[in-house]
């Protein structure tokens, strides 16, 4: 029997959480989210003049008595949150102990489950050289296992091309988009982040790195092979070169964080040896993504 993506006990604890949004969202069907559409809910939003075709049940008769004018009572509609998960399954993610791709899949599953439990709509997309859709949006807790199975079924490998994410991101309806990646592809991540802003996504960039990336555990001579492109280069690891690598990695991480924050996105660095519950309960709650 295949190992479940997430343990049932963890799923039970995740049900107590919810994906937090800073502004109201507009979904397609009712959910538990405040919607930019005015609809049926106990929460009053505004008045507007009646126009033919409006639901007459919403006419405020008391206002008509006072103003002699039909006014409609507008309520905040509670709709589902359109949550899009973009998970990097490129070759660079198939690395590290624990494996980054596996941890990214589990994290995506955990966040998705939080959303599904709150009747939010989850759309899954994985990407490497290009995006691959995870199928029709998932909604409701019952669809979680299908989503998990789908995530697990995706292969890992190939180069990363973040520019190929611009199109699917820009097609998103305003909502929440979470991008899980190591950010190490040769192409820059910034176009994808810009696309998130333009698509009015309230999003988050979660950078997943392995502990061996942060602190290489080897020294000496080696032939380095790129996990994505297969390119090779002879190399001698010395304290100076190790220092240079760490500097480059820190600069790359800093650039991603800076780009995310500049566009109002949340950012969190994660390492693949962190327990999923620790990521969810601590890191993602700390940056305000979950609550």
């Amino acid at each position: 029997m295949a190992t479940p993506l997430l343990e049932p006990s963890l799923l039970r604890r995740l049900e107590a959480l919810a994906v937090l949004v800073r502004r109201a969202v507009k979904g397609q069907i009712g959910g538990e989210r405040r919607s930019v559409s005015r609809g049926r809910s106990p929460e009053f939003a505004d008045f507007r003049s009646y126009t033919p075709g409006d639901d007459y049940r919403l006419i405020d008769w008391n206002a008509y008595a006072r103003l002699d004018k039909f006014m409609l009572r507008l309520f905040v509609a509670e709709e589902e949150l359109p949550l899009s998960m973009f998970v990097d399954l490129s070759g660079s993610m198939d690395w590290g102990r624990p494996n980054k791709a596996l941890t990214a899949k589990r994290l995506a599953g955990a966040i998705s489950y939080v959303a599904l439990a709150a009747l939010d709509r989850v759309r899954l997309t994985v990407f490497a050289a290009g995006p691959t859709s995870g199928g029709a949006p998932y909604r409701g807790r019952h669809s979680a296992q299908a989503l998990f199975a789908r995530i697990q079924s995706f292969p890992v490998g190939g180069p990363t091309d973040y520019s190929r994410l611009v199109w699917p991101i820009s097609r998103q309806r305003p909502g929440m988009t979470i991008l899980i990646t190591d950010g190490l592809g040769e192409s820059p991540l910034e176009p994808a982040i810009t696309a998130l802003q333009l698509a009015r996504q309230e999003g988050a960039v979660l950078q997943m790195l392995a502990p061996q990336e942060l602190e290489p555990d080897w020294t000496g001579d080696a032939r380095l092979r790129d996990a994505e492109t297969g390119a090779e280069r002879e190399f001698t690891s010395t304290p100076a070169t190790a220092r240079g690598y760490r500097t480059a990695l820190a600069r790359r991480t800093g650039e991603i964080e800076e780009a995310a924050r500049r566009r109002g996105l949340r950012f969190a660095p994660l390492t693949s040896d962190q327990p999923i519950e620790d990521m969810v309960q601590r890191t993602l709650r700390r940056i305000g993504l979950l609550g």
Binding site: D182, T236, T241
Partner: protein, 608 residues
Amino acid sequence: MSFLAPAAAALALTLPVIVALYFLRIRRPTRVVPALHLWPDQIRDRQANVPWQKLRFSWLLLLQLLVAAFLVSAAVQPALSASVTFAPHSIVLLDASASMQARDVQPSRFDEARRQIRAMIDQLAPQDRMTLIALESTPRIAGSATGDQDALRRALDGINPTNGPADLTAALSLAAGIVKPGDDARAYLFSDGIVEPVRATFADGLPFPVEYHRIGLSGENVALTSLVVRTSAQSRAAYLRVQNFGQQPRSFSLEWRSDAGLIDVRPMTLAAGQAHDVTLPVPAAATTVTAHINAGDIFSLDDSVTAIARVPRAFRVLLVTPGNVFLEQALRLRTDFQVDVIAPAAYVSGSAYAMTVFDRFSPPSLPDSPFIVLDPPAGSPLAGGAAIGVGRVRGSDAGDPLLANVSLQDVHVARSQDLSASTFGRTLITSVQTPLVLVREEPFRQALFGFDIHESDFPLRIGFPILVQNLSEWMLPPSVPSHSFHPDELVTIVPETGATSVTVIRPDGSRRALATGSVATFGDTDLTGVYTVEQTVAGKTDRSWFAVNLFSDATSQLKPAAQLTLPPTRNATAAPSTHRGFIQVWPWIALVALGLVIAEWLAFHRGL
């Protein structure tokens, strides 16, 4: 410049090997990394194992070649010629006597001598051998005929200055003993020349020449050379002698104290070479008295002296005689004797006397203690044969310590019992006709006179009281001698009867346990000061004291001898083949190599 290990030049082959290694390429293990573009473009051949590649300039290569070159240079051990000449076997005698503690050269004569010897060891050639002899009161070999410089340095560091004299005769005998026939040796004496005069004649001469290296410059020293406490009927006083051995007048203060505290401080001035005797009071209750001068000279060992002020414990001595004023007076000369005189009829055996003298009387049973029997009556156990006439008398052994200072030249004995057949003991004084005085050590020290001293002119000679004194000291030595000893001098300690433990506490507080039940010889007297002897008798602790002081004019005069009278070198001994020593410079070259290794390490870390 010479090379002590030229064969090591073969190690220069490492240089082309290093270059060759740079021609090789490395077989590198493949490592998959998530993002190759993050890794700096850095490559360096460190462990080449696949041929070949084009040689590239590398600072590391240059530094490694330099390191190897310097290490090879150090390995061949280049050496410069030194000023000191060595024989194949160098015998170094280091004077460790008291005078070498003088500080006219800094930090002291001894340290200066040690420094010069250390320089010699450093310049020793690999094939040379060196023997180190510590010139002390009892010379000893510290390092024996070895070329191991580290062992010699350790042996040199193991020699420390002592407070005793330097016995050069014994040291030269020791050195001569270790030189084998045909050994090419030369002795180097590092000393201030203040040594005991050479006694032995070395009739055949020394098997090596002796090179005297004088250490020291000055003889400016004020010393306390004597301190004696005398007790008279009226009072007790101490007699102190202070002497300025230098060429300059000296002013200083003399501090006089007992174990109870300070008694007096008085200023003194002594002209060059002047000696001054001082009489000082001794408190009645004082156990020790100490004189100290703060002369600020170059030698401090003779600036403090101590004497024992307490009167030694008295022995009870019984003289059984019909009347013998000569014997009685001779016994009373010992201040620590309390003499009781009784007639033979009053003698009761078993009396608790340390010593008994029987004059013309012999009890039925002799006491189990030291005794002297003179002219025992006929029929008594110790009586000899019939009396015979005696002519001139003489000592049986002129070198016998019991006859020290006893002149028998004008001594005549009219007649004596014939002791020829006596088995009492060995003969001390004899004549042609018969032995006259016999002594024995077992079971106790005892003496037998075969004649009545009234029938001799011996009591009228100066030798008689001296003989009685010698015999009584031999039989009853002071339990703990109260006079002053010199450093390293042996002290005889006679434990009290019934003592269960005897311990000597040295001036530094260290304790030495002695055997009880027999006369003990204590030799750990290298420190100056007061030694306390603790004896436990019947559960009570009995304390007595003796002092050790330098008290040596020869040492205190301090002026280094310009020349030493040394035994001649054996004629048959050819002049030893000497060669100059070497100043090895390889440690400096190795140091440079170490610096280059550090530079190479830094260059590697900085990615050069």
